[in-house]
Amino acid sequence: MSATARRSARKYPASAPYLFIAPFFVLFVPFGAGSVLLALGISFLDWPLGQPPEFAGFDKFATVLDDPLFGKAMGNTLYMLVGFLLALLPLCLFVAVLLKQLRRRTANLVQVVIFAPITMSLIAVALVFDLLYNERVGFVNNVLDLVGVGPVPFLTDADLAPWSIIALRIWRVLGYYAVILYAGLQSIPDEYYEAAQLDGAGAWQRFRHVTFPLLKPVTLFVLVASSIAAWELFAEVQVLTDGGPARSTLTAVMYIFGASFEQFDLGKGAAASVLLAAAIIVSTAVASRLLRSDDRA
């Protein structure tokens, strides 16, 4: 009895848990939580890099919101985000359903191949696509040249460039999300399909009434994860178009980077990042509210 009492009282030194979590928080306090507060703080400052900061209230927010370029950048980002999602979601659902119809071994082999692009840096992917898109050395244009067509201005036409960027991003993540959805598909019990088949449901009806509703939580995860990534579009655009032509691919993160590290206006950069973060958090919260309401647990 006294042994159990002592055990429930304490079986380890009171400091033990704090010692375990301390090293993580030594890093997390400045670079995680602290940086969030710091970003908020800097957004209220007039702080040209290398000079002492001064309090500026909401001035920097006003500057950013009045700047037509910021609106353009947010608009471009949203345009590419929507185009990206509309193309990505049906494609990766299609690939996942297809994977499930294959023999296990074939499916595993295909998975490995389509998973490769996600292991590459965005820069590597951008450079690979320049070997396809480039007007002088690009594969596609050189093939078209053989048949006397083109060149297609993949990256130098204001209407086409956003879609060239979208295609590149889809190539990079399609396999990754298809594999996630495929894992979700495998957790749907066979019995549901058997029952549906007995009820005379065709392939489309089985997808519509069995696969799709049961896969909804995973699909919503894909939606949230891929849209956060799309909000943060930056690296491949910086390398391939540098926001051009005619600022048609200028993105929100690129605007922030320009304000902070090219104009060295830290307050403006921070204000723009707070606004972008707010947009991301709001859109994520809306999507994960949907996700949670679907969770039966």
Binding site: R7, P13, A14, A16, P17, L19, F20, I21, F24, F25, L27, G32, A33, S35, V36, L38, A39, I42, L98, N108, V110, V112, I114, F115, A116, I118, M120, S121, L122, I123, A124, A126, L127, V128, L131, L132, R136, V137, N142, Y176, L185, I188, D190, Y192, Y193, Q197, R206, V218, F221, I228, E232, F234, A235, V239, I256, S260, G269, S273, L276, A285
Partner: protein
Amino acid sequence: MRKRVAGREVTRSGRKHKPIAQRLGRGAVVGLIVVVAAFPLYWLLISSLKPSTRLGEVALIPSSVTFENYIAAFDTQIPRWLLNTFGIALLTTLLGVSVAALAGFGFARYRFRGRSVLFGMVLASLAIPEYALVLPQFTIMRQFGLLNTWAAVILPLAANALVLFLLRQYFSQLPEELFDAARLDGSGEFRLFWTVAVPLVRPGLGAAGLLLFLNAWNAYLLPLVMLTNSDQFTMPIGLAFLHSQLNFGIVETSPWGAITAGTVISIVPLILCLLVMQRQFIGSLTAGAVKA
């Protein structure tokens, strides 16, 4: 026998009747997907093996193969960038796995004052886009004179909330009896962690390590902001820098050779890991998704 993929049992009985044309059609679609996924990588490899003057040639099998681009790459700063990338990724992985494993164990195995607030803070930080944190992280590193050092990239990347979350899940699945037994033998708490818990969560540590390594190896914005001296560049920054020099030059004098060879070098380590480990690799990178 465990049943195979959902839906198979039903279709299998009907498989005999499935028209050949339908199966051929599906095979063709699968083939197309594989080609679309693999062709850009194949083309990169081929391009890196062609003399740069023939970069624009469209032959699917090059008429001559040369390693001159790889030799040229080693005359640039690429070896240095490779070393930086490898050092940063390795140290980020070691540090990140260590702190997340300790903290994951702490959060999973103990009840203590402030636990839910602290863990809630870590979880909430997952909602903050990392790009919003680069600017404050830059001002901190600048304040401490750490710009252009590996530490400026390693420290922010090692504090990975997703990895902590993942490892906490692994540690909380262990039965408490294991620890009680070891405590009766007089083990201290750190000993419990190191000799009882850690060996049992090796798969989790592997997944965490892979996530951290891949993240650091491919990082772009953070090193771009922190590392401005070309000696300190990582591969993604260096390759983007070489590419930025293309626009003003003509093909013949441009560093295309170093770029294609350098890109191949930068993607080979992780693609090799994928080919060797296959299921574990894919499982590790999708673990965060499936658990969430």
